[in-house]
C-alpha cells in the first residue's frame, strides 16, 4: 500500500507543478479520449431512464412553473418595450461618437456547442467536462453559456475536451451589474445550493428584488477573464442592508439550473482578446 500512496503523492505533486502542456497533462488528455466511448455508452444506457424521470418531474412542476413564467413574461414584456427605444438610441449615439468596443455579445462571439460529458463530485468540484476542445477552437478562460445565460468559464482544455468551472465554484468571481446600474461581483453564496450573491455593491446603490443581473464586461482585481458585457446571469431574489456590513447583501438566483446541464455553448471571440496596458 505504501508504494501506491507514494505513487499517488508523486502524481499529485508532479501534476500540480507541471505546466498544462506537461507529460501528465498530455497523458490525462489521451486517457480521457480513450475513456470517452465508455462514458458515451453508459450515458446511452442511462438516457431512457433519465428521460422518464425528466418527463414525470416536468409534469410535477409544470403548474407552478407555468404561473412563474406568466409573471416573468409580463414583466419582460414591459421591460422590452422600455429598452427597445433605448437600444436604438444607444446605437445612434455610438455611431455618432465613433465609439470603439471589443467583441460584443452575442455578435462578436462564435458559439461552440458541446454536450456535457461528465460532472465531477459536486461537493468538491463545481465543474463539468464538455465535449469540445482545442480542435474546435476552444481556449482557456472562454466564457460558457447555456440557454443564453452565463454558466462559467473554461479552466482546462485538451484537444477534444474541456473542463468548465461553474459560477457556483468558490474560485469564480464575475464582474456583474444590476440592470439599474449597481455594479459588483457575482460569486457563489455561502453554504450549499446554486444561489449566488452580488457582492461589493455599496449601500448607496439602488437594487430591487426582481432586477436582472448581467455581466458588466469589466476586468477588475483578481478576475481571471474578461467576460463580454450583458450576458444574463440571474435575477435578484433578496436585498439586505446591515449596519455592520460595508456592502449590501444581495442574493441572486441564476437563470441556469447547474445540476441539469446537458449542453452548453462556449463563446469563442471573433476578435483577439484585449490586452491590459
Amino acid at each position: 500500500m505504501g508504494v501506491l500512496v507514494l505513487l499517488s503523492l508523486a502524481l499529485i505533486t508532479i501534476y500540480f507543478r507541471e505546466s498544462p502542456g506537461g507529460f501528465l497533462h498530455r497523458t490525462q488528455s489521451g486517457g480521457a479520449t480513450i475513456l470517452r466511448p465508455f462514458e458515451v455508452g453508459a450515458n446511452r444506457v442511462a438516457r431512457p431512464f433519465e428521460d422518464v424521470y425528466g418527463y414525470f418531474h416536468g409534469l410535477a412542476v409544470a403548474r407552478s412553473e407555468n404561473a412563474r413564467l406568466r409573471v416573468e413574461l409580463e414583466r419582460y414584456r414591459q421591460l422590452y418595450g422600455a429598452s427597445a427605444s433605448a437600444i436604438q438610441q444607444n446605437v445612434d449615439l455610438q455611431k455618432e461618437l465613433h465609439y470603439y468596443e471589443t467583441a460584443k455579445y452575442p455578435e462578436g462571439y462564435r458559439p461552440v456547442f458541446a454536450s456535457v460529458a461528465g460532472r465531477p463530485l459536486s461537493q468538491f468540484d463545481q465543474s463539468i467536462v464538455v465535449e469540445a476542445g482545442k480542435h474546435q477552437g476552444v481556449r482557456l478562460h472562454d466564457p460558457v453559456v447555456a440557454s443564453g445565460s452565463l454558466v462559467g468559464e473554461v479552466t482546462k482544455v485538451t484537444s477534444t475536451m474541456a473542463r468548465v468551472t461553474l459560477l457556483t465554484d468558490a474560485e469564480i468571481a464575475v464582474a456583474a451589474k444590476d440592470l439599474t446600474g449597481a455594479a459588483g461581483l457575482i460569486r457563489h453564496g455561502q453554504g450549499s445550493g446554486d444561489s449566488l450573491i452580488l457582492d461589493h455593491v455599496s449601500k448607496d446603490q439602488v437594487v430591487h428584488k426582481g432586477d436582472m443581473v448581467v455581466t458588466s464586461g469589466i476586468l477588475a482585481g483578481r478576475l481571471r477573464s474578461l467576460y463580454p458585457k450583458n450576458i444574463p446571469i440571474g435575477v435578484v431574489t433578496s436585498v439586505g442592508r446591515s449596519e455592520i456590513e460595508l456592502y449590501m447583501s444581495i442574493q441572486v438566483s441564476p437563470f441556469v439550473d447547474f445540476s441539469t446541464l446537458d449542453s452548453v455553448a462556449i463563446l469563442v471571440s471573433r476578435k483577439p482578446a484585449p490586452q491590459l496596458p
Binding site: M1, S8, L11, L35, G118, S122, D125
Partner: protein
C-alpha cells in the same frame, strides 16, 4: 478461484463502477449529495478479497476517475487507495462474516473519504466549503451510499465467493 481470475473480475467491476460514477451518478444530486457507487463497490471488493485488492483497486479506479474528470491526477487515487486498504484490513481481521460489516464500512469510509478529500483539496489550494462537505452533504451521502450497499454488496458476493477460513490460513476470532 485463482487470484488471477479474482484480479480480472475486480478490475472489470471497478472500471465499470468508475465509468458509471463519472458518466451517470455524478450528475445526480439528491439533498446536496451524490451516491458514490465506486466507493461502495470498492468496499465490497475490499471486504471480500482483502487489503491488497482494496488498495490496488482503489488506486486504479481513482486514476480512471481523475482521468475522465480532468481532475488533479492522483488525488482520488490517494484517497481510494487508503480507503480500500483500510476496509480490506477490516475484512481480513474481523469484518468479513458479520452482516453489519458492509454497512458499517460504507458509513465509516464515506465519512473518512469526505474528510480526506476535503483536506487534500485544501492542501492543493482549492476553495472548498467545509460546511457543504461536512454538514450539508455528508449525512445524505452516507444515506445514499447505504441504500446502494445491499445490491452492490450482493453482486460482489456473487462474483467473489467469501473464501473459507482454511484457504486463507488465518486465525479466526471466535465469540
Amino acid at each position: 478461484m485463482s487470484r488471477g481470475a479474482d484480479a480480472a473480475k475486480s478490475a472489470v467491476l471497478l472500471f465499470v463502477a468508475a465509468i458509471l460514477q463519472v458518466a451517470i451518478l455524478d450528475r445526480i444530486l439528491i439533498l446536496h449529495a451524490t451516491p458514490d457507487l465506486l466507493l461502495v463497490t470498492l468496499v465490497g471488493v475490499s471486504l471480500l478479497r482483502g487489503s491488497l485488492f482494496g488498495a490496488t483497486g482503489g488506486f486504479f479506479a481513482g486514476l480512471v476517475v481523475d482521468t475522465a474528470d480532468l481532475g488533479t491526477l492522483g488525488l482520488t487515487s490517494l484517497v481510494l487507495t487508503i480507503a480500500g486498504y483500510w476496509i480490506g484490513r477490516y475484512g481480513e481481521t474481523t469484518g468479513r462474516d458479520r452482516a453489519h460489516a458492509p454497512f458499517l464500512s460504507v458509513a465509516v469510509v464515506t465519512v473518512l473519504v469526505a474528510l480526506g478529500q476535503l483536506v487534500l483539496h485544501f492542501m492543493i489550494g482549492d476553495h472548498v466549503s467545509a460546511r457543504l462537505v461536512l454538514l450539508d452533504a455528508l449525512a445524505p451521502g452516507i444515506l445514499l451510499n447505504l441504500l446502494l450497499t445491499p445490491p452492490v454488496y450482493g453482486l460482489c458476493r456473487r462474483l467473489f465467493r467469501p473464501p473459507a477460513w482454511a484457504e486463507l490460513g488465518e486465525v479466526r476470532l471466535l465469540g
